[in-house]
């Protein structure tokens, strides 16, 4: 076994002292003691000077959440929701108590060797040997240092917690990316700031940051200045001077020295991926968020190297700590340990009598669905835990029995204060979803069958059997469901939320390919060949191209010859025509629509310019394939022709009325192209009473979710700052606890599980999300009169008033008054009828309305 001598060989080396690493080391320390060792068989290596670097970097007093709530903690360290300080303090006490062999400032530069004898090279040229290695390094990476003398001075920092913490200092910000620009702008509110850019201009930051920083530098009244084409040469610290730092620059005019209080370098970070790959660990693809393949015991493709925590795809603290515990147990030889989520799976499969144990259930699901076979054990387990399992029984005693059993289980869980988790029991013939509903989940059939039928009979109904999946259209394009899904005999379904599915598609090429292919088949069927069968269409899929466009990309240009049409899979395309040398917007085509169809139906010359109005994906069908598809017997060309005629008439109408075209352009510019439900105010009726905002605040905990005055206006039509309930909500993209949801009727809302991470706030291009503290309760009229302070109806004070709040700011946004029978409060409260909420089907009324 392991020996420890001059060559320092450990049984287990854990790299990274974050939540996962600490938890693994605490377990290993305990197991070491249990086995009666006098010296530690483990070592925890951390490159930073303290434990839990990411959390140390949180701003002071930050409230840390303990998500996901449904998962129990299994660790020798304490962890519960609380302040950053308390959590760090607890961990410090606990790891000392556990006797972890922790080495700080021990950055691992490389890992080589093989299972049983790994060699780790540290930054200080020391080497360590270990039989097994656990990587718990996280994904944040290490900040790039300045690389000049003085880079380690205490007043040189590589991150900024709270810009408001500094006042009346001279601060030098080094860098030209978003982080540098944001820091510099925020700091310049109460400090003199110099931003140092190595290049002659800013090109990396996002548009808004770019405009803001350039304007601020140009404006002599701001306290922000910029040194272009400049590099830091040296930093000298003299604590007796004020300011204490002296920074020497290489500028185009020669060397220059500036005295300052602080240097903040934001030069990006070196991603952990390079380090991981250097050990021979492979990632399934080159996507930024790809996760290395691991087995059930978190072991990577390199035997003896285990990966836990966010690097393994589990970004939440509790998950990481549980994995740390488990991995140490596995490595120390505990082969029977069940992961803490075992119980969760048991509940999920509790209503399916023919799957006796969760592990068997998982195995059967995996075996029956070709797509699932591509997943690694861990990934599949995670997928099922995040999904809902449904089972259909025929109406009768069996259904009633199972239903009763599940209801009892849910009651028990509720009594224990848990979120209910159990199999969903449906009866055969029950409708799973209706056409027009906004679906955010993806269904996989594990057993039995499901019937899909359209409302208008445009596509014949069909029966899908085990191994198939459905709901991919809403997943990929964000469109409402186009068909009705009905549970068939004995069906067992895995219903996976959109976010999990997107994550999976990003990390698994096979899954992406099979979903893509099925989407294509069903789109071809819908657009051109309703009666064609799947095998018939399968041969076309390889010949249909997928084109990804960034916002602003041109798909085709007016006047050029073309030989293909495009189906918009997601996003939107703006069609413009040149009229008197001006590009006039004639149509906006959203997901599910066709563009350029005339090129394959006769006239090869394009009569519009097609440009992506937002990021979009297109399916390209060439003339040859198109003709093959529509020349099949029984393929009706007439509906297709009618659609073309209608669209071209609409475009012609738009072209002859520049005013209407301008209105269309304005609406699309305001983001209505991707909206499903938007608040529109007729300024010629709005008296500015703000009753809409007051009503919103009054019905939503005291804070209005709309800002009437802000937003854009054209020809009396005002689009205020308020949620547009986008087709594919930007806010939903990176929500760690999956707190942003879409109801079947389309409203996008945030549930109680928000952890206040601000990702949605940053992702929303319409500024429709605010972060607020729980506002104080509004006083009753009597107390209000007694105090003679307070506010009139509507808004009550929130964090903006500067009150010290112990709780953490959470994200809020418009929920379109979901579930309120009489409709949204803002519209109901408008005394003059100036405020309405509309969906895309009514834009035409705005465009057609006669205006001055």
């Amino acid at each position: 076994m392991s020996t420890q001598g001059p060559d320092l060989k450990y049984r287990l080396a854990i790299i990274g002292a974050g939540p996962a690493g600490l938890s693994a080391a605490a377990r290993a320390a305990l197991l070491d003691r249990k086995s009666g060792r006098s010296t530690p068989g483990h070592v925890l290596l951390e490159g930073f000077s303290q434990h839990a670097k990411t959390i140390q970097y949180y701003q002071r007093g930050k409230h840390v959440m303990a998500e996901p709530g449904f998962l129990d903690l299994r660790s020798d360290l304490r962890f519960d929701a609380g302040s950053r300080e308390r959590i760090l303090q607890n961990w410090q006490e606990d790891y000392r108590h556990a006797g972890i062999n922790l080495r700080l400032n021990a950055e691992v530069k490389s890992v080589s060797g093989r299972c049983g004898d790994f060699v780790m090279q540290l930054a200080d040229a020391q080497t360590l040997r270990a039989e097994k290695v656990v990587l718990a390094v996280g994904t944040a990476g290490n900040p790039v240092k300045l690389g000049v003398p003085g880079e380690e001075c205490s007043a040189v920092q590589y991150q900024l917690d709270d810009p408001k913490a500094y006042a009346n200092e001279t601060i030098i910000v080094v860098g030209a990316g978003d982080a540098a620009v944001e820091n510099a702008l925020a700091l310049s509110e109460q400090n003199d700031v110099i931003i140092v850019n190595q290049k002659g201009e800013f090109s990396r930051p996002k548009e808004a940051n770019l405009t803001a920083v350039v304007a601020a530098i140009a404006d002599p009244t701001t306290r922000l200045d910029c040194f272009y084409n400049t590099r830091v040469r040296e930093i000298a610290e003299n604590p007796r001077q004020s300011p204490p730092l002296s920074v020497l620059f290489d500028t185009p005019e020669g060397r220059k020295s500036v005295a300052c209080h602080r240097v903040i370098a934001r030069l990006g970070s070196t991603p952990a991926r390079g380090f991981v790959e250097s050990m021979g660990i492979t990632f399934p693809n080159s996507r930024k968020d790809a996760v290395p393949e691991l087995n059930e015991q978190y072991e990577s493709n390199v035997a003896g190297i285990y990966i836990v925590g966010s690097l393994a795809g589990y970004p939440l603290i509790k998950q990481a700590m549980n994995q740390g515990y488990d991995v140490a147990e596995f490595i120390y030889g505990n082969t029977t340990l069940k992961p803490v989520d075992h119980q969760l799976l048991e509940w999920q499969f509790s209503g399916i009598t023919f799957f006796p144990t969760p592990d068997q259930a998982l195995g059967r699901c995996k075996a029956r669905v070709p797509m699932f076979r591509e997943l690694n054990a861990l990934g599949f387990r995670e997928l099922v835990i995040e999904s809902a399992i449904s089972v259909a029984y025929p109406r009768g005693p069996e259904y009633a029995d199972e239903k009763r059993k599940i209801d009892a289980l849910i009651d028990r869980q509720m009594q224990e204060g848990r979120k209910p988790r159990a199999t969903r029991i449906v009866h055969e013939g029950e409708v799973l979803y209706e056409p027009g509903e906004f679906g955010t989940s993806f269904f996989t059939i594990v057993n039995g069958s499901v019937k899909l039928e359209s409302n208008d009979g445009s596509t014949p109904s069909r029966e899908l059997s085990a191994g198939n999946f459905f709901g991919e259209m809403s997943l990929l394009s964000g469109r409402p469901r186009t068909e009705r899904a009905v549970a068939g005999a004995g069906c067992v379904l895995v219903e996976t939320p959109r976010r999990t599915m997107v994550k999976l598609m990003n990390s698994n090429e096979e899954v992406r390919r099979s979903i893509d292919e099925m989407f294509m088949i069903r789109e071809l069927q819908r657009c051109f060949a309703p009666s064609a069968t799947v095998p018939e269409l399968q041969r076309f899929t390889a010949r249909v191209g997928v084109r990804e466009c960034k916002a602003g990309d041109i798909v085709f240009t007016e006047g050029e010859a073309g030989e293909s049409l495009f189906i918009v899979r997601s996003g939107g395309i703006t069609l413009t025509r040149k009229v008197d040398s001006r590009a006039l917007m004639v149509a906006e085509v959203g997901a599910g629509g066709l563009i350029g169809e005339l090129a394959v139906m006769g006239d090869p010359i394009r009569h519009e310019t097609a440009r992506a109005s937002r990021a979009c994906e297109l399916l390209e069908v060439k003339r040859r394939e198109f003709l093959e598809l529509v020349r099949r017997p029984g393929a009706p060309l007439d509906p297709l022709r009618q659609g073309v005629s209608r669209r071209f008439t609409d475009m012609a109408k738009m072209q002859i009325r520049p005013q209407a075209a301008s209105m269309l352009g304005f609406l699309m510019g305001a983001g209505l192209g991707e909206a499903t439900d938007v608040l529109v105010i007729d300024e010629s009726l709005c008296v500015g009473c703000d009753n809409c905002e007051k009503a919103c605040a009054e019905t939503h905990g005291g804070v209005s979710r709309l800002d009437r005055k802000a937003g854009s206006t054209f020809a009396h039509v005002h689009i205020p700052v308020a949620c547009r309930h986008c087709e594919q909500p930007h806010c939903m993209k990176d929500c760690p606890p999956n707190a942003i949801r879409r109801s079947p009727s389309g409203e996008v809302y945030i549930d109680d599980s928000c952890i206040g991470c601000r990702a949605c706030e940053k992702n929303c291009p319409y500024d429709a999300i605010q972060m607020v503290h729980q506002p104080p309760t509004k006083p009753s009229l009597l107390t209000w009169l007694q105090a003679i302070v307070g506010r009139a109806g509507g808004e009550v004070s929130n964090s903006a008033s500067g009150e010290v709040q112990a709780d953490r700011a959470k994200a809020i946004k418009c929920d379109a008054c979901i579930g309120v029978k009489h409709g949204p409060a803002c519209v109901k409260a408008c005394p003059t009828g100036a405020a309405i909420r509309i969906g895309p089907e009514r834009y035409i009324e705005l465009i057609e309305a006669p205006r001055e």
Binding site: G688, E698, A829, T832, A834, A849
Partner: protein, 289 residues
């Protein structure tokens, strides 16, 4: 798409109040006998009760407007009904009293009610005409955008003035510093401009609508010594003219927004006065019968 408050639900409440008024007129004509029609016949009592209930209901809009979670119709519907029934209350109350007016509390109550309705009609006029004018005046921007533009013009104006002769520089800079916007209630509502500037020495002279400074810069232009100065003065002239245009917009915006708000400060207290008058009217009618 936006029917407006008058056309709400295909003029539903116009029809309703029209029918109600006709019904009241019909009832009025049924009063026979030796006396001229008055409030003390059963028809008169009926009409009086209807008018009193209407007044109470009209006042309830203030409460409904603040019941944001209420499912009882939309505020727009209530407002539409409020307007038409509010107008109808005058003929109905007149029919109730048979147009008998004297110097007493009854006529006082009637006059107060009329004052409420007239103030309401004034408000309606403002509500119907000003939003559109406001929108046109702001040209799709917001008031804060206008102020941002003004601040930018101020800054550039000062820089440019600095390059001109001392007299022009002092006049333009003082003109910028002593520009007044808003002020008291009257100044806002009437868009009174008390801007001043320093035409030279230590004096102060009126610069209403920025005209004096514009004239001064324009007068200086033909006397420019150097071509660079002439160019600066031309730019300055353009700039002060733009300031004038922006300031006019801001004042107009403040003025119209002021009128949109101020009328309620008459309408609401008058409503309370009219309700008190109504109570006094009813009490005295029954006490001193």
């Amino acid at each position: 798409m936006f029917p407006g408050v008058l056309r709400f639900a295909q003029w539903r409440y116009l029809w309703a109040s029209g029918v109600l008024t006709l019904f009241a007129a019909g009832l009025y004509t049924t009063q026979g006998g030796t006396h001229p029609p008055r409030g003390d016949t059963w028809q008169g009592y009926t009409l009086g009760t209807v008018a009193a209930l209407m007044m109470l209901w009209l006042a309830l809009l203030g409460i409904r407007k603040r019941r944001y979670a209420s499912a009882l119709g939309s505020v727009q519907g209530w407002t539409s009904a409020h307007i038409y029934l509010g107008v109808a209350v005058i003929p109905i109350a007149t029919l109730h009293c048979g147009a008998h007016f004297h110097w007493n509390v009854h006529t006082l109550a009637y006059s107060l009610m009329c004052a409420v309705v007239i103030s309401g009609l004034f408000g309606l006029l403002v509500y119907l005409s000003y939003p559109r004018q406001l929108s046109v005046n702001r040209e799709g921007g917001s008031r804060s955008a206008l102020f941002a533009e003004l601040l930018d013009l101020d800054r550039r104006g000062r820089d440019l003035a600095q390059r001109c002769d001392p007299g022009t520089a002092i006049a333009v800079k003082s003109g910028i510093e002593r520009t007044t916007i808003g002020g008291g209630v009257l100044a806002q509502l009437l868009a009174i401009d008390r801007s001043e500037y320093n035409p030279g020495g230590d004096t102060s002279s009126t610069n209403s609508d920025q005209q004096a400074v514009i004239d001064l810069v324009a007068a200086r232009l033909p006397r420019a010594g150097r071509s660079a100065e002439a160019a600066d003065l031309q730019n300055l002239l353009l700039l002060v003219c733009r300031r004038q245009a922006v300031l006019r917009r801001i004042r107009r915006d403040i003025q119209m927004q002021g009128w949109l708000r101020i009328w309620l400060y008459g309408h609401v207290p008058l409503t309370f006065a009219a309700l008190v008058g109504l109570i006094v009217h009813i009490l005295t009618t029954f006490l001193y019968w």
